[in-house]
């Protein structure tokens, strides 16, 4: 069978890897000596020993900020012209990096697009392409190849990742133009693309896990990119560790999967589901265990309760990173994994319920936190957590298509929001506090326009992408057999809150009087084209991205659902064997409900969203003093919400302190006192005994000779005695 372009599927992850290698070499051999020299540090010899093979795990090797940035380098400090008076001619390597890094991702996008088109030309049931690259781990019955799989689901993911990724790379070139460790940044970013593409294109759980941890690693490196800042390196570590807790779940889930199915490959595992179900090997309990563990991983990666705490802190990273990793792609990996494993999830109704409830609770919980945040990026971060909650809600009610749909549209508008906020921050020389913004509309018109579009999209204004995807989720929540009206109410309420705080953000930032620092205001400026063009493209996508999934009730053909049907439909068919899974798959459900109900609920949710917008308008445009009053009126409530329900503090107190104390106790009491006490005690015993016995030794040679003789006499005497006795 001729696969044509599909045979080059490996290029999709390989191209960013090439970028890592090339940029890594640049970072190592050009940027590192350059920065060291700039900082007045000696450049050691031995350059020749390094080589590009460091690439794959390249953590940038260069010092990030030259001394002049100092402490305030913190938040994206990009003061224009001011503190950069004496800085050198842009070295040539930066131009090379600025071209290479986006170019490889762009090329990767093109290849991915061609592959997907080629795949689309196949019949619907033949749209799964597996490419085995090389055997990776093999031990006994375990055989894990490094293999890629392109099917409907992974093609959506691959396109979103490479597409949005490319735009953000381009944006980064402008955004990071004042950054000293330019190459290091792009090494990490390219590495992230590689890991993320490995994640979505992997054809087995283990390789997916490689990407899964790989993106976590890149996230760690990029959050802590400005590592001189304590909060940044703390946040990076926190992200990694919290994700590790999730990974622990995935790891165990993989063990269960392997020892149940005898394989880790998606195709084999899912193909065996019905068989093992019939033979009784795959009990509901087992499926529940597997899926709950997988979901634990998803809560870590996708920042769901209880492991969401790392994501808001992750905003310490550069803004494009927040857009790419912590909004558009990496955090949705959990959703992807749950959707990928839908065949298993559908067998475990308990897990489905847990997923739905956690999703809904997270959605509303983090939305409420978003109300009170003043840092523009943190608002967006909580918004992301909330939107991810929606996706899990969708998964939990069996509407995997809707989840992936929302994942895609969310990638567009949330990336746009982050990039827009980045543009604002860029304009304000690093200011992130919304209380020090206002009236920015006239300074950054393109940014404002695009961000406004995205805000409308996330708020669920009809016609924009967010509307279709969110509404699909809400409808499924209401109508699906896994769903319930209660969840619908929660989700709709969360949608209203979302609309409220997003408009609060827009009003505080772009409207009203300027509350900017005059010094900052002087330099406020629109961003360069490398930043505004990606914004504009994303804005178009935010508007139009939803049109491929217009539901039937609105006269659309829901292309998106048809595209994904081969992935989720057979699943539903297989799941139908299980009692609990009957009628699980989303598309067939609305049949039982009148179209009027669907339309009515749709209107209701739009109404709630409009209420949210209205409230925001009232509080932040009409009665601007009111929010403070409310805060004063319920100080405790405000305090609790403002401090994010004290969850971080609770974790610190309940987990971290405890562990550290116990560890210290173990070390000092058990190790040093108990075990070494025994050991040293024995030693002391021997020594004191020796101290007594040593008096026998007079030190005079004659004495020793006599002892020797006496011993000999006794010995011979004993031999004699024995011989006499016998």
């Amino acid at each position: 069978m001729v696969n044509g372009i599909l045979d080059y599927l490996w290029l999709v992850p390989a191209l960013p890897l090439l970028g890592v290698v090339l940029n890594g070499a640049i970072a190592l051999f050009a940027e590192r000596p350059f920065l060291l020299r700039e900082a007045g540090l000696p450049v050691p010899g031995g350059l020749g020993h390094g080589d590009a093979s460091h690439g794959p795990s390249a953590h940038g090797t260069s010092a990030p900020l030259s001394g002049q940035h100092g402490a305030s380098s913190a938040a994206d400090s990009h003061g224009h012209g001011d503190s950069h008076g004496g800085h050198h001619e842009t070295p040539a390597y930066r131009k090379l990096v600025a071209f290479l890094a986006p170019a490889v991702v762009g090329a990767s996008f093109v290849v991915a697009l061609l592959c997907v088109l080629s795949l689309a030309s196949r019949p619907a049931d033949g749209r799964t392409f597996v490419q085995i690259l090389f055997p990776w781990i093999q031990a006994g019955s375990l055989l894990v190849p490094a293999a890629l799989q392109l099917d409907a689901l992974s093609s959506v993911m691959a396109l979103v990742v490479t597409g949005v990724g490319f735009l953000i790379h381009v944006y980064s070139v402008g955004y990071m133009s004042h950054e000293r460790a330019f190459a290091r940044y792009f090494v990490c970013l390219n590495l992230f693309m590689f890991a993320m593409l490995t994640l979505v294109l992997a054809n087995n759980y283990l390789l997916m896990f490689v990407g899964w941890e790989g993106v976590g690693l890149c996230s760690y490196l990029l959050i802590g990119f400005w590592y001189e800042k304590q909060s940044a390196s703390d946040a990076g570590k926190k992200a990694f560790v919290v994700n590790r807790i999730g990974d622990f779940g995935v790891l165990l889930a993989m063990f269960l999967v392997f020892w149940t199915f005898g394989s880790l490959s998606f195709t084999e595992v899912f193909a065996k589901v019905p068989l093992l179900r019939e033979s009784g090997v795959l009990t509901t309990g087992l499926a529940t265990a597997i899926t709950l563990l997988l979901f634990l991983g998803a809560t870590g990666k996708s920042a769901q309760i209880p492991l969401y705490v790392w994501l808001p802190d992750a905003m310490e990273g550069p803004t494009p990173v927040s857009a790419l990793i912590h909004a558009a792609t990496m955090v949705t990996a959990g959703v992807y994994m749950v959707a990928r494993s839908s065949a298993l999830f559908l067998l475990a109704p308990d897990t489905m319920m847990v997923v739905a409830v956690i999703g809904a609770v997270t959605a509303i919980f983090s939305a409420t936190i978003g109300i009170c945040q003043t840092d523009i990026k943190r608002v967006l971060a909580y918004s992301t957590v909330s939107q991810l909650g929606y996706m899990f809600l969708a998964c939990g009610v069996g509407a995997f298509t809707a989840a992936i749909f929302h994942l895609m549209t969310h990638a567009f508008f949330k990336a746009l929001l982050f990039l827009g906020s980045g543009s604002v921050i860029h304009a304000l020389s690093g200011e992130q506090d919304m209380r020090k913004m206002g009236g920015l509309k006239k300074y950054v018109p393109v940014t404002f326009a695009t961000m406004f579009v995205a805000t409308l999209a996330i708020a669920g204004i009809p016609g924009l992408s967010g509307f279709f995807s969110k509404d699909e989720i809400l409808w499924q929540t209401f109508s699906s057999s896994h769903g319930s009206p209660v969840l619908w109410v929660v989700a709709a309420l969360a949608a209203g809150i979302t609309a409220f705080y997003m408009f609060r953000l827009v009003f505080l930032t772009f409207f009203g009087k300027s509350r900017m620092d005059p010094e900052v205001e002087k330099h406020a400026h629109e961003s360069p084209w490398t930043m505004t063009v990606p914004l504009s493209i994303l804005a178009i996508l935010s508007v139009a991205g939803g049109w491929i999934g217009i539901p039937a009730v609105l006269g659309g053909s829901n292309l998106f659902e048809h595209w994904l049907a081969p992935v989720f439909h057979p699943v539903a068919a297989a799941g139908a064997h299980g009692a609990a899974a009957a009628g699980a798959h989303g598309a067939s459900v609305p049949v039982h409900h009148p179209a009027a109900l669907e339309l009515g609920l749709m209107a209701l949710s739009v109404g709630i969203a409009l209420c949210g917008i209205g409230l925001a308008y009232f509080l932040y445009r009409v009665r601007t003093g009111k929010p403070a009053e409310i805060a004063k009126q319920w100080p405790t409530l405000y305090d609790v919400v403002y401090h994010k329900y004290y969850v971080d503090e609770f974790y610190e107190w309940a987990v971290i302190r405890r562990i550290v104390n116990v560890s210290t106790g173990l070390w000092q009491m058990f190790d040093a006192l108990f075990i070494d006490g025994i050991v040293n005690g024995v030693a002391d015993l021997v020594r004191s005994a020796g101290g007594r016995v040593r008096r026998l030794q007079g030190g005079v040679v004659g004495g020793y000779a006599f002892s020797l003789l006496a011993g000999a006499v006794l010995l011979v005497g004993y031999i004699l005695y024995r011989s006499v006795v016998q």
């Binding site: 900082a39 031990a139 790891l251």
Partner: protein, 527 residues
């Protein structure tokens, strides 16, 4: 005999003898010529490594038994022979030894300034002893090498160590010696038992493998071997010599201690304790698994709160070796192959970590975490190496640590779910203590004036770090060449283990061992 023929027929003996000859030649070097001494030692170890590569080249992947065997009667009256051989179990540990030695030697260029000649002689003698331990398949020969390792190591710690070096050296010596003496008794008992059954005195391991030992005797003998190896590994709660020894040892000593000496314990379990006494081993499995799991968690927790980088790494070794032990006692292909791979991984990663610590220690003469901070800015290359090594130690996929840990946990999960679950939390803790340490050392602002003038890694340091990084990635990305060469031997081991266990179960009255209740009734045979 021509040189080629010598290499052809006595490759393993050459591997054992070469460092010793090197050490003897070193005696004729003038004390003052430190440069010549160092270069010569490096040359010897590099040649040794290159020769050991030909072992890999000549290794037959399909053969399960000992390869390149050499057999010379030594004390024939007592059935003691000089028998050496290599199989899939020892191959990579042997390679690790010969690989890590030149790196270690290279790392001492500036770290060891006093008594260079003696230092190098001890290093070479140590190499002979270590290589001998992994190649000997005669119990008597093995025991000699096993004990021979102690002597140079004792001096390396005691002479070139830190402030409390004498305490650490004696503690190290006594701890390990206490265990090995019991092992000696067990070896002799086994020897006499073999005579009693077959009428032949022999110390040949392969012959002893064929022996069927009564369960009761097995339990006792295994206990003695267990103590010897558990001290060496070190398993919780026999581990307290390790932090002291590591902290006080010179960098090179720490590297070898971590990379190779600890592996002698785990290797000993696999080659001797488990293979000779399968029923007892199976019987002891719960206890050992529990200790291993405790070691994993305990080591990680205690590592977390250390203030001294070296001590932290030492405790992390306790944790990592817990994984290895757990994998071995899964008694299935995945677990054991994972454990062997993890031995190599731990050697590479932890060896590299000690080298990393050595590099900053050389510059600052302190290892306290609080003395550092913000180093990433002044020493970017160092930071990069440190990062990769840290990730490998954490077991991030794509690095060697992941493959090993995954296989181990996969294997363990099959036989003992809950052990695997608890052990897997060790993976989380590993991230916590390593990253926390990394952050405190490398990130943040430079608070200590002295750190501003730190020099980055020089060419020599890069030269010895680079091979380690390369292997970290190689094993992580393409472990096949390593795993394939273990397959046949490990498979044979597992098969023999199962057969012997079943035979013992069939032959012994029910209830004679805990095993019957515990291990087999509950689970099927593990494979």
């Amino acid at each position: 005999m021509t040189g080629v023929a010598l290499l052809d027929q006595h490759l393993l003996s050459v591997l054992i003898g070469l460092p010793l000859i090197g050490a003897a030649l070193l005696l004729f070097f003038p004390r003052e010529g430190n440069g010549a001494i160092r270069n010569f030692t490096l040359l010897v170890t590099v040649v040794e490594f290159l020769l050991s590569l030909s072992v890999v080249a000549r290794f037959d992947v399909a053969a399960a038994g000992m390869q390149l065997v050499e057999r010379v009667p030594w004390i024939p009256q007592y059935g003691i022979s000089y028998i050496v051989g290599v199989d899939g179990i020892s191959l990579w540990i042997l390679m690790l030894t010969t690989f890590i030695m030149p790196i270690t030697i290279l790392s001492t260029w500036s770290a060891v300034a006093k008594n260079v000649k003696e230092f190098m002689v001890f290093m070479l003698v140590l190499e002979t002893a270590m290589v001998g331990v992994f190649l000997a398949t005669d119990l008597f020969l093995f025991y000699i090498f096993w004990e021979l390792v102690l002597i140079p190591m004792y001096f390396l710690i005691g002479v070139w160590g830190g402030e409390r070096r004498i305490y650490a050296a004696i503690k190290f010596f006594l701890y390990t010696f206490a265990g090995s003496v019991l092992m000696l008794v067990a070896i002799i008992a086994l020897y006499f038992h073999h005579h009693a059954v077959t009428g032949v005195y022999t110390m040949d391991l392969m012959k002893l493998y064929e022996l069927t030992i009564p369960v009761k005797l097995q339990l006792w003998l295994f206990a003695a071997f267990f103590l010897a190896f558990a001290f060496k590994v070190p398993m919780f709660p026999f581990h307290t010599w390790l932090p002291d020894a590591h902290v006080e040892a010179p960098t090179a000593g720490s590297v070898i201690l971590a990379a190779v000496l600890l592996k002698m314990g785990t290797y000993g379990f696999l080659r001797f304790a488990m293979a000779l006494f399968p029923v007892a081993a199976a019987d002891w499995t719960p206890l050992i698994a529990v200790l291993a799991v405790i070691g994993i968690i305990y080591g990680a927790l205690v590592a977390m709160v250390q203030k001294d980088v070296k001590k932290l790494v030492a405790y992390s070794s306790v944790s990592h070796l817990g994984f290895v032990m757990l994998g071995l006692f899964a008694f299935n292909l995945q677990g054991i192959e994972g454990a062997i791979l993890q031995m190599v991984n731990h050697g590479i990663s932890t060896g590299a970590l000690f080298l990393i610590v050595g590099i900053i220690y050389e510059r600052r003469h302190t290892r306290l975490i609080s003395e550092f901070g913000g180093l990433a800015k002044v020493v970017p290359l160092f930071c990069f190496c440190f990062m990769v090594v840290t990730l490998s130690s954490i077991g991030v996929p794509g690095t060697n640590g992941f493959v090993g840990e995954f296989l181990i946990l996969l294997g363990v999960f099959k036989v003992q779910k809950w052990f695997a679950v608890v052990a897997a939390t060790g993976v989380i803790f590993a991230a916590v203590y390593m990253l926390w340490m990394f952050q405190r050392v490398m990130y943040g602002k430079i608070t200590n004036e002295e750190n501003l003038r730190l020099a980055d890694m020089n060419g020599r340091e890069v030269a010895y770090m680079l091979p380690l990084l390369l292997f970290i990635l190689w094993i992580g990305v393409y472990p096949q060449p390593f795993l394939r060469r273990m397959d046949a031997s490990v498979n044979a081991f597992v098969t023999r283990f199962e057969a012997k266990k079943q035979a013992a179960l069939a032959g012994s009255p029910a209830g004679e061992t805990v095993l019957v209740r515990y291990f087999d009734v509950k689970k099927g045979g593990a494979r």
